[in-house]
């Protein structure tokens, strides 16, 4: 886990899209938002889930591992960078291999783009755009100690279960205290398809 990172608390997200707008202002991908804001149960719930790149640590960046062009660099501080423009061939391996559904692809430009933790800002100690503008603190940037000083008793998890596989990440999610001992379920195995229980 990185020292300073993003902590996501979906329970606080009100789906206001401020993060989506702010992300477009990031200098490293100007005009294009890399954060995803999904309404998980449209029509029945206002619940929304912001998704930034989780900066997988173990296994290290599956997106980079499956890249056939060695285009995705993981910097020494654990940040999984977006694809190198001179190498990316737009094959979409990273888009489809990422278990969190993070990378985007521009098929015309043959280029992958993804959240790079606003590297132009975080490299200089500034918070990423999304965490800077989030009005409810659903996206918090800082150390765990800073988070816990602001929200006493809060617990976070930085591992996610996809079936039998556990992926440890650089970005963490807020979880209830009684759930902190287990990886956060990542949605695999799939238990429902189109509202039908397929277990």
């Amino acid at each position: 886990m990185m020292g300073r990172t993003i902590f996501i608390d979906p329970g606080r997200c009100i789906g206001c899209q401020a993060c989506v707008s702010a992300c477009r202002e990031c200098d490293s991908h100007r005009g294009k938002s890399m954060i995803h804001l999904d309404y998980t149960d449209t029509g029945r719930s206002v619940a929304s889930l912001p998704t930034v790149c989780m900066h997988c640590e173990d296994p290290v960046a599956p997106c980079a591992e499956v890249c056939p062009a060695d285009a995705i660099l993981v910097t020494a501080d654990g940040v999984v960078q977006q694809a190198d423009t001179s190498r990316c061939i737009g094959c979409a391996n990273c888009v489809n291999a990422c278990p969190f559904g993070v990378p985007k692809i521009d098929l015309q430009a043959k280029l992958q783009m993804k959240c790079n933790l606003c590297y132009d800002r975080t490299a200089y100690g500034l918070a990423p755009m999304c965490a800077t503008v989030c009005p409810t603190g659903a996206l918090f940037y800082g150390t765990l100690e800073e988070l816990q000083a602001e929200r006493p008793g809060v617990q976070v998890a930085d591992s996610f279960a996809f079936g039998d596989v556990v992926v440890s990440t650089g970005v963490a999610m807020v979880v209830p205290a009684d759930k902190v001992r287990w990886p956060v379920p990542g949605g695999l195995p799939v238990v429902e398809v189109n509202g039908v229980d397929v277990r």
Partner: protein, 363 residues
């Protein structure tokens, strides 16, 4: 920070990352490939220069650099296509390239892709028109320079004059006369100033990219001197010193020519040796992507589209999805079945799992 992996049940234990069992064999294979290609080039130089009779010894450092270049490219290429992701896509790409069935179905697909993707580089236009224009200048300039320089340094091309100093010249390839020309007419001028024309193309292109690397905050983010700036500086130094050689011979009566020639040679030699290991490697890497495009294109022609199992939106082509799952299994990424879902459904499934199993108050 909690460390949940310490209290995992055995079946939830993290997968061991893929070990490096084949690393030594990959290195050995790459070394062998590099040595074989270098040796082939040396043989081709000796034979092509008619047993070194046409070989210009003044160009020896350039020729030696191209042998190192051949070793480096073959070595790096072998290492690159040995990695699971590249290996699988490379094989499928080669299979698509040489498939008679594909050729019958879409005979124009390959030349069209090669022209638009490798030649015109239309995908760069979709990123930025200015970058496309600058890259086209560099691309055609370098291609022209390589087409002239490499055969000259290998002794494959010769320009001879029966009168000693022209203006009538004969161009010979491997000793065979190809054409005769007058160095004073337009065709002759173009022939003798091909490298100057290449330099005039490369300088504005490389300068634009260098300016962008200084000013554009997107380009500056995470840039590295050796990877991003050095190649541009190399191109500019080569081009400027090359032009200065012409300037020296025309306007200075050869003043400073020897120094400039050494400076030019050193910059070219260092660039050629650096080429396989830095940003320039994309020059040899990029053509393989045409195979990947063809692999996807032909599957789409057969309507082999794989739809997301949850929402029905197309994920990619069926053979591609199977290929990616194979890559993930090679890499011991045990969640390859998740490839059958589109990125949005993956996020929604994770959100629903969080909603129902982690924090019910989320609703």
């Amino acid at each position: 920070m909690s460390e949940p992996t310490e209290v995992l049940e055995p079946d939830l234990a993290p997968q061991q990352p893929p070990g490096p069992p084949a690393k030594r064999s990959v290195t050995a294979r790459a070394t062998l490939a590099g040595a074989a290609v270098s040796l082939l080039l040396i043989v081709a130089i000796v034979l092509g220069s008619r047993l070194l009779r046409d070989f210009d010894s003044a160009l020896l450092p350039y020729a030696v650099a191209t042998v190192f270049l051949a070793f480096g490219v073959a070595y790096r290429y072998t290492v690159w296509v040995s990695a699971p992701g590249a290996r699988r896509l490379f094989r499928r790409g080669i299979g698509s390239l040489f498939s008679a069935a594909n050729f019958r179905k879409a005979p124009t697909a390959l030349p069209r892709m090669a022209a638009t993707y490798l030649g015109l580089q239309k995908f760069l236009g979709a990123r930025s028109h200015a970058r496309w224009a600058a890259h086209q200048l560099i691309f055609w300039g370098c291609l022209l320079a390589a087409a002239i320089t490499f055969p000259l340094t290998w002794g494959w091309f010769t320009f001879t004059s029966s009168t000693g100093s022209g203006p009538g010249y004969e161009m010979r390839i491997w000793g065979y006369k190809v054409l005769g020309f007058d160095s004073l007419d337009l065709a002759g001028w173009l022939m003798f100033h091909g490298l100057d024309i290449a330099a005039v193309l490369v300088i504005p292109g490389a300068s634009y990219f260098l300016w962008r690397r200084m000013k554009d905050r997107g380009a500056i983010t995470g840039q590295r001197f050796a990877y991003d700036l050095l190649p541009l500086i190399c191109l500019i130094v080569i081009s400027v010193t090359g032009l200065l050689l012409t300037f020296s011979s025309i306007f200075l009566h050869g003043g400073g020519y020897e120094f400039l020639a050494i400076l030019h040679m050193v910059s070219v030699v260092l660039t050629l040796i650096y080429l396989p290991f830095g940003k320039f490697f994309h020059i040899v890497q990029r053509p393989a992507a045409v195979g990947m495009q063809l692999f996807k294109y032909t599957a789409r022609q057969d309507e082999q589209v794989f739809a997301c199992k949850r929402c029905g939106e197309p994920v990619d082509t069926g053979p591609y999805v199977e290929n990616l799952r194979g890559t993930m299994r090679d890499l011991k990424l045990g969640f390859d079945s998740f490839v059958e879902y589109c990125p949005r459904c993956k996020r929604v499934l994770r959100g629903n799992a969080y909603l129902t199993q982690v924090k019910k108050g989320f609703r």
